[in-house]
């Protein structure tokens, strides 16, 4: 479109929102690059959240949040098929523990109706427990939203990124934006790996989206990183509840959820703690204890002795409490302040921004754009015959590296060879779940590191958990 710039669009940030925007932009005749500070996509907020597809009753009708949530949920349902990532419509319950709070539950119901959420129902306490026997006797009623779902946030983000790459989007990882300057009709994006010029910018920098925004826009933004701690339990516990069980915000606070994950674990969380440091993803004894305690209000029998890990994520909370999406300065498009329901809204945000930019750039839809993608086969889930056939084609699919999650060498190799492929242990883990099981990578770390070393052509000493500085081993003996 424009010969004076390296790219038509530079997307800053390869989280789920940046990747969704890149994917949707890639479906137009536009040249696009994505810059990402970390070594891989899905390395910030997108990797550590509740992994929920919200039905859409939370957001105030008429807000961007409400619109993006409802549209996003519908898109994920469809995209999970065309782009082959794990998603399950398991439905959600919002538990009410006090008759006095019934008006609030009814308000959620009304809001959902206004937002266009289908199938909403208010259940009595007994109906809830018939549906979910593990739910506490203290629940007096609940809002059932059958269209809510659970998704693999890593799988979805990677699917968006791969689909973007299939339509020519270029990913530049381990690239930190240090400044943004005007350059004629467009911009110069300054990075630690050289300048990139583009006609448009999409700011999807997550907890740093205020920093990027403030580099170019007059009206300043302020993002507060809000930390949420989670506890993840063994797959033996994943059937304790089948719905995502929320708590109606009440006197005891905002409430935490208990949910199965799409891979069959049980997830409990999050806490909510504002912190000044956009890197502060540490877990705390107090935060973990509080999350565990509060979850017992909903489901008193959560077996915490089956915990396999805990983690913390940061939401990008903007002072105005709504998403900031749109053209904040000529040619500069924000997707900022994307906190819950950000994961759900991501594809809708990407679609919306891509439409705005395509219109402004007068870009046509890409001819023969790739709109489908196959994920890496989960060999252990294939029927025996199909699995045998795959192993015959490529014997690496017959070598199980991660025994807890049953991940084969073939899957790990595929994760590395994809575009954009895994370059770190965390990248492999998020793509194929090696090391995500109950032994938490105890047994399979040496083998996975050796495969990364071999496939990337780097010595073992350079195999990293994630970014430089996170090397696994010190030296050869």
């Amino acid at each position: 479109m424009n010969d004076n710039f390296d790219f038509d669009v530079c997307v800053i940030g390869a989280g789920v929102v940046g990747c969704a925007a890149a994917m949707m932009l890639g479906r137009y005749e536009l040249s696009v690059c994505v810059v990402e500070r970390a070594e891989d996509v899905c390395s910030g907020t997108s990797k550590a959240n509740s992994a929920i597809v919200h039905a859409g009753y939370d957001a105030k009708p008429g807000t961007l949040k409400a619109r993006m949530n409802v549209r996003g949920a519908a898109m994920i349902r469809e995209l999970s098929r065309t782009l082959d990532f794990s998603y399950r419509e398991n439905g959600s319950l919002v538990l009410c523990f006090d008759e006095k709070d019934m008006p609030k539950l009814n308000e959620l119901y009304e809001r959902g109706i206004k937002n266009g959420v289908e199938g909403l129902r208010i259940l009595t306490g007994e109906e809830v427990r018939r549906l979910e026997p593990a739910v506490s006797d203290k629940a007096v009623a609940a809002l059932l939203a059958p269209t809510a779902g659970i998704v693999c946030p890593f799988g979805m983000t990677v699917a968006f990124a791969e689909n973007a790459a299939a339509n020519g989007v270029e990913f530049r990882r381990l690239t930190t934006v240090t400044g943004v300057e005007r350059r004629g009709e467009g911009f110069t994006v300054k990075t630690d790996r050289g300048d990139i010029t583009s006609r448009f910018i999409v700011n999807a920098a997550g907890v740093y989206s205020d920093v990027i925004h403030n580099m170019i826009c007059e009206n300043k933004l302020h993002i507060t990183p809000r930390r949420g701690e989670y506890v993840l339990l063994d797959k033996q516990t994943g059937e304790l509840v089948s719905h995502t069980v929320f708590q109606l915000p009440g006197a005891y606070g905002k409430g935490v959820l208990v949910t199965p994950t799409v891979h069959g674990n049980l997830l409990v969380g999050p806490s909510a703690e504002d912190c000044g440091d956009p890197e502060d993803t540490e877990t705390t004894a107090e935060g973990t204890a509080s999350v565990k305690q509060r979850a017992l209000l909903s489901v008193p029998s959560v077996p915490y002795n089956m915990t396999i890990t805990g983690f913390a994520g940061l939401r990008a909370h903007e002072d105005g409490d709504d998403f900031i999406i749109g053209e904040s300065a000529p040619g500069f498009f924000d997707a900022a302040g994307i906190e819950s329901p950000g994961l759900t809204s991501a594809p809708a945000i990407g679609e919306y921004i891509a439409e705005l930019i395509a219109k402004k750039a007068d870009a046509r839809p890409r001819e023969n754009a790739v709109t489908e993608r196959r994920g890496i086969p989960r060999v252990s889930e294939l029927p025996a015959e199909e699995r045998s056939r795959l192993i015959k084609e490529d014997p690496a699919y017959g070598v199980i590296v991660c025994r807890c999650e049953n991940v084969s060498e073939g899957e790990i190799v595929a994760a590395i060879r994809r575009n954009p492929g895994a370059v770190s242990l965390d990248g492999v883990k998020r793509r194929v779940r090696q090391g995500m099981g109950r032994c938490q990578a105890g047994f399979c770390t040496p083998a996975a590191a050796a495969i990364l070393s071999r496939e990337l052509g780097i010595p073992m000493e350079e195999v990293r958990k994630n970014i430089p500085g996170s090397e696994l081993i010190k030296e050869r003996i």
Binding site: T283, T307, G398, V399, K465
Partner: protein
């Protein structure tokens, strides 16, 4: 569907000893399925000595001990499959395995011996607060990286947990030039063998902090240090006792867990204390023809006991295949008063051997106490012990002729004055 007389799941010390015993008991068709690329299991990474004192009267290294068994497997011509993972075991003794040459194969077994071993408790299960940087390893993972792959995992090491692998790694890393700051143990006593405390810590002046734990891991990308706190009688950190240790590596040696995913899939009943199958005196689980031995049954202190136990499992599996099924009346065994569990949990007096060894661990350190055995509340054995500790297994023997007059419903093993 192909049929084998006995299928052994796991080619570590337990699986090898079971296979050899079964073959020697006259079963020709024994097959070992092993997930790693060689036989021997975890022994292959245990390059220190101290193995085999009871069995061979010699101090062998782990690989040497394993070799004594794998050599016999070769000599006896017992077939085995390497890099072969068992995907499923069914109640009617069908075993589905996967490897790169055959794909997915389901075979039928006359008897199955479960010998899958155990795994280490990871950081996540311990709930250690802080960041999640590189440089946190379970002791066994670090041992493998060091002794098998040939890489050093760190220069300045803090070790949490005083299990045997952690103690061994404290010495190993010191010998490779790393500085081991300290070993911290949550409990007021060590979980490891006394000889390892002496030989691996004291001989190298490595301090052991009892009743301490890590309360924060520092470093966003690589471990930079740990905060360590003293704990009270309820194992809760005591505020004000925090101390910072600078280190680039945190090793965890905080307990081993029998790896019973396949057993559970098959529907085998699991003992909540051991984490392993509930077995009778023939080491048979509650699924007829499915036996268990080694660390998948309960975590052992010495490999010699694993080998001995596994040989018995192999012999009993052979007997089962030949049609001699453990059956008849059942006597329940249980630990009480400081005895945490017993293995076996059940004795069948009608089909039991002349004597049965019952192994167990105690819940605390006991000095000058006795182990007593009661048949339906009547004491029949009492033996003085100078010292008993949770890190070391204890045993008693139950004799068949003791049931000549009457068969009790319950046998209780206890610690008393």
């Amino acid at each position: 569907m192909t049929q084998h007389d006995i299928i052994i799941i796991g080619g570590g010390p337990a699986g090898l000893a079971a296979a050899i015993a079964a073959r020697k008991a006259g079963i020709g068709d024994v097959l070992i399925l092993e997930r790693d690329d060689k036989l021997g299991g975890i022994l292959n990474q245990c390059i220190h000595n101290g193995f085999g004192l009871h069995t061979f009267g010699a101090e062998l290294t782990g690989p040497e001990y394993a070799e004594r068994y794998s050599d016999q497997v070769e000599e006896l011509g017992i077939p085995y499959k390497l890099r072969t993972i068992v995907a499923d075991v069914s109640e009617n003794r069908e075993v589905t395995y996967v490897n790169s040459t055959e794909g997915v194969v389901t075979v039928k077994a006359g008897a199955i011996v479960l010998a899958m071993g155990c795994r280490e408790r990871p950081r996540g299960a311990l709930g250690l607060p802080g960041y999640r940087p590189a440089g946190i390893f379970t002791a066994g993972t670090a041992q493998r990286l060091m002794n098998v792959e040939g890489y050093s995992v760190g220069k300045k090491v803090f070790i949490l947990g005083s299990g045997d692998i952690g103690l061994i790694m404290a010495r190993r890393m010191t010998l490779e030039g790393a500085q081991v700051c300290c070993v911290a143990e949550l409990m007021p006593y060590s979980g490891g063998l006394n000889r390892n405390i002496v030989q691996c810590l004291r001989d190298f002046n490595i301090p052991l902090l009892l009743s301490h734990t890590v309360t924060k891991i520092h470093g966003k990308y690589r471990v930079e240090g740990v905060t360590v706190s003293q704990v009270d009688g309820n194992r809760r950190p005591i505020p004000g006792t925090e101390e910072f240790y600078e280190c680039d590596t945190l090793l965890l040696s905080c307990g081993l867990l029998p790896e019973n995913e396949l057993s559970r899939q098959a529907g085998v009943g699991i003992d909540r204390v051991t984490g392993g199958p509930v077995v009778d005196d023939s080491l048979m689980t509650d699924i007829p023809g499915v036996f268990a031995c080694g660390n998948v049954l309960h975590v052992h202190d010495l490999v010699d006991y694993v080998s001995e136990e596994a040989s018995r499992a192999g012999e009993h599996a052979a007997r089962f295949v030949k049609g001699s099924v453990p059956e008849g009346r059942e006597i329940r065994l249980e630990g009480s008063g400081g005895v945490r569990y017993t293995v076996p949990q059940l004795i069948r007096p009608d089909t039991m051997a002349d004597s049965v060894v019952v192994r167990f661990r105690v819940a605390d350190v006991y000095r000058d106490k006795s182990i007593a055995v009661y048949y339906d509340g009547v004491r029949v054995q009492k033996r003085k012990k100078r010292i008993m500790a949770p890190g070391e297994m204890e045993q008693i023997t139950i004799r068949k002729d003791g049931f000549a007059a009457s068969v009790p419903e319950k046998i209780t093993v206890t610690v008393e004055d």
